[in-house]
């Protein structure tokens, strides 16, 4: 701000300030209706019953089937985040050691950007065409090698299947979020380690490892939140039962039979927000630590 406002009388300053605020009214009104109100509906609804305020929805989160759903959701997100983080980090490392402006790096980064967004129904159908009951790989293995990948039951529509399918968008996401941190590693650090007599093992465990650890952990947390919030892929793949929380919420939203289920859905939604908020806060903290060295 310049020095002009000090010369304006207080009353006029307030009016011009008020008129400036008017310019932001459309934006704030819009987010109030379509973002703030929905958030409040979830937060308040979680504590509302037939007779007003109640804890019964939230205590219903302790029911065995809801707890199981949360447990499975967390397991699915953790496993797919871990696999995605490790493989994605390896792929990112491969890109960093390649030529910086080479074709390989450009193509893989661009493809990662697309594949990280590739979720939902299309991904589910891609895997149905691959390892569905009449999928390409399933049929090929059965006809040519005589192995039935579903000899012990069809696992594609259950938790192991979801883990495999989720990995498909987790690895590219890891490449995108972890690549900047790897780029921050300076070759001079390796040279310094070598000139001090350190081996490759020393370099990775004492220098690069500790430097990259916060970035790796932070990226893994982001992947966890990503998998935890995903709905469409699971919805298209799993039509029977509701093994994970998003599908439980679908059940609560669409069932018109059991009254009072609506607000249990809001309580589960609130539970999801809490988990995601905790994970994202940790992510932000780790991100700040990463920026110190690898910014």
């Amino acid at each position: 701000m310049t020095s002009i406002p000090t010369r304006v009388p207080r009353g006029r300053l307030r009016i011009t300030h008020f008129r400036s605020l008017l310019g932001t009214v459309p934006f704030f009104a819009y987010v109030a209706i379509f973002l703030v109100i929905p958030t409040l509906v979830v937060a308040i609804g979680a504590f509302t019953g037939d007779g007003g305020f109640t804890f019964s929805n939230v205590t219903a989160l302790g029911d065995a089937y809801v707890l199981d759903a949360f447990g499975r959701s967390i397991l699915l997100s953790a496993v797919s985040a871990l696999i995605g983080a490790v493989l994605g980090a390896v792929l990112a490392y491969v890109l960093v050691t390649a030529k910086p402006d080479g074709l390989l790096r450009r193509v893989v980064t661009a493809a990662s950007g697309v594949l990280a967004q590739f979720g939902g129904v299309t991904l589910a159908f891609a895997f149905l065409a691959t390892i569905g009951l009449s999928g390409f790989v399933t049929v090929f293995l059965r006809d040519h090698l005589g192995t039935d990948i579903y000899a012990n039951g069809v696992w594609l529509f259950e938790l192991p299947g979801l883990m495999l399918v989720y990995t498909y968008f987790q690895i590219p996401l890891m490449v995108i979020v972890f690549l900047p941190a790897l780029d921050g590693i300076k070759p001079q650090w390796r040279e310094a380690t070598e000139s001090l007599g350190g081996s490759t093992w020393h370099y990775w465990t004492r220098v690069a490892g500790p430097l990259l650890a916060p970035a790796f952990l932070g990226s893994a947390l982001l992947l966890f939140a990503n998998a935890f919030s995903a709905y469409a892929t699971a919805a298209a793949l799993v039509s029977q039962g509701s093994p994970i929380v998003p599908l439980q919420i679908r059940g609560a939203l669409t069932s018109e039979v059991v009254l009072g289920q609506q607000n249990l859905g809001k309580a589960m939604a609130l539970g999801m927000v809490v988990v995601v908020a905790v994970v994202m806060t940790l992510y932000a903290l780790l991100q700040r630590r990463t920026a110190k060295w690898l910014g």
């Binding site: 379509f34 792929l91 994202m280």
Partner: protein, 264 residues
């Protein structure tokens, strides 16, 4: 020393190709399987897909979904721009103190899963139904919230690269009104940012399923999901086509981004 480095480079190259081949197989296999799956049998799936009148006669739900998604994508991009660009410029010029708040709000949808948002949106959409009816186009309101984080970051980056304040003051000093400042001074200067925000919006809207399906409206993804129950081959073909479209959109975006960086 040179020998050590050379052997490391060789090791790295072998490692690189092993990783690329293994992961490349994992990522290309489902795509190849989709092609194989849709070309089984008499193979008229693809010829049907490019024949719009025939397609909408055979699969009316699918045609309706495709049309709905395209309209939603266009309208969402438009509403996002109308809502976000003037606000972002205005806040930069007149209310810099509000910037952290606007940024916080715009990034908020990242921490709220779509499935949670839809729970809260259900009552809001009861009112939308009451005032505007149950058309699939009303999803545009929710989608604009969904794309807010991505669009805001793109536009904010564009605004950071130019000196909005000087430009606006110069235009104002020459007698331009605020509308002229926005449309004829600021907008042309951030057109690449606006373009990338619009591309991201279109890509995201074309892939949206959660909100549309749970609010009982239709779009491309809902139609594909529905089709999967009756005609697996056709649904896989449409999935692949939608995927290729998103690929092309986002590839253009990333190449465009590269060019912008290079020219700076």
């Amino acid at each position: 020393m040179a020998g050590v480095r050379q052997s490391r480079v060789r090791r790295q190259r072998v490692f690189r190709w092993v990783v690329l081949v293994v992961l490349g197989l994992f990522f290309l296999l489902p795509l190849a399987a989709m092609v194989e799956f849709t070309t089984r049998g008499d193979g008229n799936t693809w010829s049907l897909l490019v024949d719009w009148p025939q397609l909408s006669a055979t699969y009316p739900d699918l045609a309706e979904g495709i049309a709905a998604s395209l309209e939603q994508a266009l309208l969402t991009a438009l509403l996002m721009l109308v809502l976000l660009v003037p606000t972002a410029v205005w806040v930069r010029l007149r209310l810099p103190g509000l910037r952290p708040l606007v940024e916080f709000i715009c990034l908020l949808p990242l921490t709220i899963p779509a499935i949670v948002l839809v729970v809260g949106l259900a009552p809001v959409y009861a009112w939308v139904n009451y005032f505007l009816g149950g058309s699939s186009l009303t999803l545009v309101f929710a989608y604009t919230i969904l794309v807010l984080p991505y669009a805001y970051r793109a536009i904010d980056a564009g605004l950071s690269a130019i000196d909005v304040k000087t430009l606006a003051e110069a235009a104002r000093g020459l007698g331009a009104g605020w509308f002229t400042v926005m449309v004829r001074v600021v907008l042309p200067n951030i057109r690449s940012a606006v373009l990338s925000a619009a591309f991201l919006t279109v890509a995201l809207v074309l892939g949206e399923f959660t909100i549309a399906s749970l609010l009982n409206r239709t779009n491309l993804q809902v139609a594909i999901n529905l089709l999967g129950k009756s005609s697996a081959t056709m649904s896989v073909a449409v999935s692949l086509a939608a995927l290729v479209l998103a690929f092309v959109l986002l590839l253009i975006l990333s190449l465009f981004g590269d060019r912008r960086k290079a020219s700076r």
